[in-house]
Amino acid sequence: MLWLNVILQGVLTGGLYAMFAAGLSLIFGVMRLVNIAHGDLIVLAAYVALMATTALGVNPLVSLIVVVPAMALIGYALQRGLLNRTLGEDLLPPLLVTFGLSIIIQNGLLELFTADSRKLQAGAIEVATMQVTQGLWIGVLPLLQFAVAVGVIAGLQLLFYRTALGRAFRATSDDPAVAQLMGLDTRHVFALAMALSLAVVAIAGVFLAVRSNFDPAIGPARLIFGFEAVIIGGLGNLWGTLAGGVILGVSQAIGAQIDPGWQLLAGHIAFLVILALRPQGLFPKVSG
């Protein structure tokens, strides 16, 4: 029963990791950009939520109403103003610019908020639990977070495959030059994709802030979790990313149960094993 609980916790944590990964995966899919600052943007969203809850006096989950549009706007401006300039054949510029951005965000947050650990309070929901069956309890908040993750991924799938905007994303990803011939301003399309990615980042950031302590330096670790979830699940498949996140979460939970110091290591090892045995991931999208 103990192990079942452990695995269940891992599954629910995996939902959060899948949310970290979804934004990353989206951007890579649309414009082949890997945003090294992705994790730091999640932390930035957490701090934006901190400011919103302090200023407005609302529950962090309610602050999403403000944080999501704010981050989306930041994403649009970031892509349009900076990252669009790095896109192209050469691998180095986007990598190095987003790496530089990561350093800037981390140190900027350090200057503004100090290295103090923070956490947002969501009230009673944080400790509420539900009984699933005899001896098996789960927290309401982790369950909510998992449900939101599933909802986000379902929403993204819907957007990509059933809407005109999604069509525009896919076409621009396939062939940016011909997409222009359709009347699509690719600068604008890429910026919309980044805005969408940061909207997802905003949700992930708020849940992160409520769930555990955060400080300016924890960004890179979130990037790594998101990245590992994407690779384990398989590139190009959002539901695969959910599976990847779950596997990562469960590996970490099992590792933590064996020895608290083994939590992160267990996750990395699971990632490396998958990389060794099935480098294309568990559910890669078959190229059509």
Binding site: Q180, G183, D185
Partner: protein
């Protein structure tokens, strides 16, 4: 004499340091079908790319319906009513046939072309509407590419080497529908290596040779010798 719909005047185009077009001049009247022929590398595709806004000439000017579009970016040129069927079809592999057609209408220009009408023109596409676009045969892909360009309700359609890689019977089938396409007064520029089809379909012909206009005139008035001389530069 009314102003031409498309007025290309003395454009020079470059790929880096390599000059592809030298002072090319061309005019297309509303509702006319103009052919641009020439050997490989003569500059035909470059000319179309400049008109469509994918490239910009370093000298000269391009005017469409009186407005200067020399340095207008491609996505804005489409909105004015110029649509390009790119060389090699270049359908979007991630999109189905129908999605490829729908994205053609992204610029939301008003006009007679709708999904229904494209399916009427090319019934075989309706049967395959939900298949991935790249799963179709070459001829069907070409039809999809033409349909996609038509969905933007252009006033000027640019066709880059429609016959490339297709069997002659398929090419004839596609060209047979040209009258249906130009019914409402759509102007067309056809770039072709297949001279026979081009001359049959067009009223005016330009021949490019190594980036220069070597010959221009009404399709009916040109002899085979004159064309061969202009084509090959002998």
């Amino acid at each position: 004499m009314p102003e031409p719909l498309l007025d290309v005047r003395g454009i020079d185009a470059f790929y880096g340091d390599f000059q592809a077009l030298f002072g090319v001049t061309l005019a297309v009247d509303a509702g006319a079908v103009v052919a641009v022929i020439g050997a490989n590398g003569a500059g035909k595709s470059t000319l179309l790319k400049c008109i469509a806004g994918l490239m910009h000439p370093r000298a000269g000017a391009i005017a469409f319906d009186g407005d200067d579009i020399t340095s207008t970016p491609a996505f804005a040129v489409v909105k004015r009513g110029v649509s390009l069927v790119p060389e090699g079809r270049r359908l979007f592999p991630s999109l189905s046939v129908e999605e490829n057609l729908l994205i053609g209408a992204q610029s939301k220009r008003p006009g007679p072309w709708t999904l229904a009408r494209v399916y009427e023109l090319f019934p075989v596409l309706a049967e395959r509407r939900h298949m991935p676009a790249t799963a179709l045969s070459g001829g069907q892909q070409q039809m999809t590419a033409i349909g996609r360009a038509l969905m933007a309700n252009p006033r000027l359609l640019l066709c880059d080497e429609i016959s490339l890689g297709l069997a002659p019977i398929v090419v004839r089938d596609i060209y047979a529908r040209l009258p249906d396409i130009v019914r409402e007064g759509l102007a067309v520029v056809i770039v072709e290596q297949d001279i026979v089809q081009a001359l049959r379909a067009a009223t005016k012909v330009h021949c490019l040779q190594e980036g220069r206009v070597a010959l221009a005139g009404p399709a009916s008035g040109l002899t085979r010798e004159a064309i061969a001389a202009a084509y090959f530069g002998v």
